[in-house]
């Protein structure tokens, strides 16, 4: 039986086989993990869909393959040996499983009927969670791609189920994005020749898949988004006192530590409701204002940076947010995040305070419109009513996509966040 890399989320197109947990000849139980797989969103174990003997591994560790690619074969007890009994040749990165070509061809059993004339909807996602064997492109999309030499796997699809449409290709070509996008993965792994050659005593550390994903995402953000940056100071003395007063009771009552982060997430979510442009995405010929407010929280883990998402953060209390953030952070550090945990983010909060940073410039979490750094809270002498007072000050730094936002909107947003944080009083209920 051919084992396909399962589709794990609508926006995940490819994955890296990080490590095979079984070797050829091993007995495999149904649901037993076969391999560790890394996507740009999450790490996961790929369970075996059947019990049997692993007869061949078709994708080497470290290779990137499309979702739905055949990655291994398992012989199920009682199953007929494949004709000739030969193992298929290994496929190299990016290749798809070769279609079996017979004497006069084969019936494609996995092709869903197209359009309202068939018995189902368009053959994009039949909704039963079965993996699609490979992305299908319409004739005009293939034609355009060939004409402009576009690698379609680099084009983001806006059609049903992420299908790449003619407009997507056209926009991609028009925007000259092929250069920018195409550079991403190369640039991420390029480096100059000088940098590549280690000198004596240097140590060469091969890239882990997660590192490579982060590198690619950062290059994409840096090359594609014309970003601008601004900062305001927030007097969070009230918040600090509130937390001091409430944290012991909160820990006892809720079972999690009360940090500043849930307060910040709540204030940011409330502010985003009034500054919708900050909660948006650049779509080439339009700006998509996002309906939901899903706030990603950057978490450092032993394996690298991940950004799990608090969905619909605008409707949650501080206590609920504290638990949500705690849960995400815990599972992130253990590498136990689900795909859904990292999908759908519309804005990111990057809490650099614990690192001791007081000013920082984050890179935008592509394709969001902005990212907010909440820096370390430090006591500083400040002037209030012509008197000098010792106050707890936190810097709020925002990096924003200047295609979407101008300084006025970004400034208004971050000032709103500041105002709301400063309005927190020590005697508020948590």
């Amino acid at each position: 039986m051919r084992i396909l890399l399962p589709q794990v989320g609508e926006s995940v197109a490819e994955a890296i086989i990080d490590k095979w947990l079984k070797k050829v000849g091993d007995l495999v139980e149904k649901y037993e993990p076969l391999a560790e797989v890394v996507t740009d969103k999450v790490n996961m174990e790929m369970p075996s869909p059947v019990s049997g003997v692993l007869t061949s591994i078709l994708v080497e560790e470290g290779q990137t393959v499309q979702m739905g690619t055949v990655v291994a074969e398992i012989k199920v007890e009682g199953e007929e040996e494949a004709p000739g009994g030969e193992a298929s040749p290994p496929v190299s990165a990016g290749d798809r499983a070769p279609d079996v070509i017979d004497r006069i061809g084969t019936l494609l059993k996995d092709v869903a009927p197209v359009g309202p004339t068939g018995s189902g909807g368009p053959a994009v996602d039949d909704g039963d969670g079965a993996p699609r064997s490979k992305p299908r492109y319409s004739p005009v999309v293939q034609h355009l791609a060939a004409e402009h030499d576009v690698d379609l796997s680099m084009v983001a699809g806006s059609g049903i189920g992420g299908r790449v449409t003619r407009k997507d290709v056209q926009a991609y070509v028009d925007a000259g994005a092929e250069a920018a996008q195409g550079r991403v993965s190369e640039a991420a792994t390029a480096g100059t020749a000088q940098a590549r050659a280690p000198a004596e005593g240097d140590e060469r550390v091969p890239l882990r898949p997660v590192r490579r994903m982060i590198a690619e995402n950062m290059v994409r953000s840096a090359t594609e988004i014309p970003e601008a940056w601004t900062m305001v100071e927030a007097d969070v003395t009230g918040l600090v006192r509130l937390r001091e007063a409430a944290k012991a009771d909160f820990q006892r009552r809720e079972g999690v530590n009360l940090t500043y982060l849930p307060f910040v997430v709540q204030v940011v979510a409330d502010s985003l409701k009034e500054h919708r442009l900050v909660n948006s995405t650049w779509a080439g010929d339009a700006i998509i204002l996002k309906h939901r407010i899903n706030i990603g929280v950057a978490i450092a883990t032993p394996n690298g940076l991940v950004v799990p998402v608090v969905h619909d953060a605008g409707s949650l209390s501080v206590a609920r947010l504290a638990k949500a953030v705690h849960d995400l952070a815990t599972r992130a550090r253990r590498g136990k995040l689900d795909v859904t945990d990292v999908q759908g983010g519309t804005f990111t909060v990057n809490n650099t305070g614990p690192l001791g940073s007081v000013v920082g410039k984050a890179l935008i979490n592509h394709p969001q419109a902005a990212i907010l750094n909440t820096e370390a809270i430090v006591k500083r002498p400040v002037v209030i009513n012509d008197a000098i007072a010792i106050r707890s000050i936190m810097n709020l730094c925002i990096t924003f996509d200047h295609r979407i936002l101008d300084g006025m909107e970004a400034g208004a947003f971050v000032t709103d966040v500041k105002r709301r944080l400063e309005a927190i009083r020590p005697d508020m209920e948590v």
């Binding site: 197209v114 359009g115 309202p116 004339t117 909807g121 368009p122 994009v124 319409s138 004739p139 005009v140 999309v141 034609h143 059609g159 049903i160 299908r163 449409t165 003619r166 407009k167």
Partner: protein, 314 residues
């Protein structure tokens, strides 16, 4: 018709109730007063003889406009039209022709039930030798009817009943003709082509306006003539938009939609960015009488808009 009867004394009108009553939809009202009963002839209730007499008159140099009161009752005349009229030019190596127009109200949405609502067009569009014209606006109806009357070959001229009263539009006084076999882009757009004819044109235009508010630019192509089809106009539009939806009231299987879809996939395959889709009447023997069932039969603005959204999203 009166302009053509003025212009050419060979033109005359015949059919059930066309003279004394001026036609059940009053299409020939007033003609008898102007041209007399010799040129506006009431016939017995016998469609076979209406078509047969008209055919004979046409073969003998006249230019008859025969009315079949409802397209539902056109069947007895089919032998004369399909079996005879369509073949005359071919069968005589071009030495004879049949300058005959058969006018007939067709289509539903008027609570006409099983015997006054049907779409009969594809029985004729399958016949080489016939032309089938289906105007949807008053302006097109006049220009095309003049061309049909002047045409030297038989034309089945189908007028949608619902458009008689539902649709109003400017019609210039006096002389103009529109070519048979030419489609008309009724609304320009870039995101998809919607190909339609008859009453559905108006629902499609409404739906297209709704979609425009949602940011989808729909091009609406009115076929106007469904045999011969204006292949170039269809292909020009689909090559531009990359997507094609065909909407008609007639049932889907074997309908015009299938023919348009085939033309598109034969000649514009490389330009397609989505499946060619059809929205049409259901596979039911006839338009039902019950108002809710009739509404279910007829594609309406909402369902057309839904189909447009589906294709736009693809």
């Amino acid at each position: 018709m009166s302009e053509e009867m003025d212009r050419d004394s060979r033109v005359f009108v015949m059919g059930e109730d066309v003279s004394a009553r001026g036609g059940v939809f009053l299409a020939t009202d007033g003609l008898t007063e102007r041209f007399g009963e010799e040129r506006v002839i009431d016939t017995p209730l016998a469609e076979s003889s209406i078509a047969g007499i008209a055919l004979g008159a046409a073969l003998n140099g006249m230019r008859p406009i025969a009315e079949i009161q409802f397209a539902d009752f056109i069947w007895p005349s089919v032998n004369q039209l399909v079996g005879e009229a369509a073949r005359v030019r071919y069968g005589t190596k071009g030495s004879m022709s049949v300058p005959l127009v058969v006018r007939s109200p067709y289509g539903g949405g008027v609570r006409g039930g099983l015997y006054h609502s049907q779409s009969v067009e594809t029985f004729f569009t399958h016949t080489p030798g016939l032309k089938v014209v289906t105007p949807a606006t008053p302006y097109d109806a006049k220009g095309l009817l003049k061309s049909a009357i002047r045409d030297d070959d038989p034309v089945v001229f189908l007028e949608h009943k619902r458009t008689y009263r539902l649709v109003r539009g400017e019609v210039p006084e006096g002389e103009y003709t529109l070519p048979i076999g030419a489609a008309d882009v009724k609304m320009q757009g870039d995101d998809m082509s919607v190909v339609t004819y008859g009453l559905m044109l108006h629902h499609c235009l409404e739906a297209a306006r709704t979609l425009a508010e949602e940011g989808v630019s729909v091009e609406v192509v009115d076929l106007r003539t469904i045999r011969p089809l204006d292949e170039e106009a269809i292909l020009r539009s689909v090559r531009k938009t990359g997507k094609c939806l065909i909407v008609h009231e007639d049932t889907k299987a074997g309908g015009i939609g299938g023919e348009v879809a085939a033309i598109v996939s034969e000649h514009a395959f490389e330009h397609l960015d989505g499946p060619v889709m059809r929205l049409a009447g259901p596979e039911v023997p006839a338009m039902p009488f019950s108002p809710p069932l009739e509404a279910m039969f007829l594609p309406d603005e909402d369902r057309i808009a839904g189909a447009m959204r589906k294709l736009a999203g693809y």
